[in-house]
Point group: C2
Chain length 176, copies 2
């Protein structure tokens, strides 16, 4: 069977010129790729006392729910502003140009819930750091943050580690 990294397609110049976009849809549309991805995460986390999986919109939803299902815990979404209907906590963070905001339901986690936070790709880490802080704001404890792809050149890894978060990625792409 192919390795996870080999099932990820690279699309040049998306969403803009000069960006090598790492496209996980080719990994996930392959039955072996989807199975290997979810099983690798679950193998790592099955004995870590994870009590909830939090996935970041939108590709984090694809991974998070299947991992939550297999671990036998619930799934909680972190969404873009205005999408969650209940009372929310929100976190605004800086982008290259402007800002973005993510939200979580205020009552989504019991106090002290051990959370696995999951997203598809770690680049600068901005969204992910915002999501981790949201989890904590509603009482959760981030056990680890998991990704399919790490792009260490973009320094998200360093940024999250410096804040004390443990991180894990299935593969990395460097030196583009």
């Amino acid at each position: 069977m192919k390795a996870i990294k080999d099932m990820i397609r690279t699309v040049p110049d998306f969403p803009k010129k000069g960006i090598q976009f790492r496209d996980i849809t080719t990994l996930l549309s392959d039955p072996d790729g989807l199975r290997l991805t979810i099983d690798t995460f679950c193998e790592r986390y099955k004995d870590r006392g994870i009590e909830a999986v939090v996935g970041i919109e939108a590709r984090g939803f694809i991974l998070g729910s299947a991992v939550a299902y297999k671990l036998g815990v619930g799934f909680v979404p972190v969404r873009k502003k205005g999408k969650l209907p209940g009372n929310v906590e929100r976190f605004e963070y800086d982008l290259e140009y402007g800002t973005d905001t993510v939200e979580i339901h205020s009552d989504a986690l019991h106090k002290g819930t051990k959370v696995l936070l999951i997203d598809d790709l770690l680049a600068t880490g901005g969204t992910c750091l915002a999501a981790a802080q949201l989890v904590e704001k509603v009482g959760g404890v981030v056990e680890e943050i998991a990704f399919i792809v790490d792009l260490p050149d973009l320094k998200g890894r360093d940024r999250l580690l410096k804040r004390g978060y443990r991180i894990f990625a299935l593969c990395k792409f460097e030196g583009d």
Copy 2:
């Protein structure tokens, strides 16, 4: 254990006054709710020869990947315009005010692939009908369209049935 319908929270006046929003996050954040939801879908589809699950952004991602994983098939996303990096087919459809567009990767499905299309909620059926037509445009065959919630008052059910699609929902809310 509570029934699926009882684990769905209703948020009045979201996203606008007069709408009773059916919030599935309370169902999916409950370990029993998530398990029951995914298991009920998989029990129904395990012997139907499903070869791929297509989920509609964003809540359809949460359901689709876990069902695909458990059925042992791949997961394919239908996304809002501009989010998929590869070559896409797109479908523009009418909303109450204006239009919206959904896309699928042109190479996402082999010709004749038997597809389970999945989303969280059936209202007017516009997005879902667009997604079903996209699946067909790239060579797939829609075996059935599955939802957690059906709102039959909004006529999406009738609209999809009239077009010859089979549909299935875990619960319905009527007469609000």
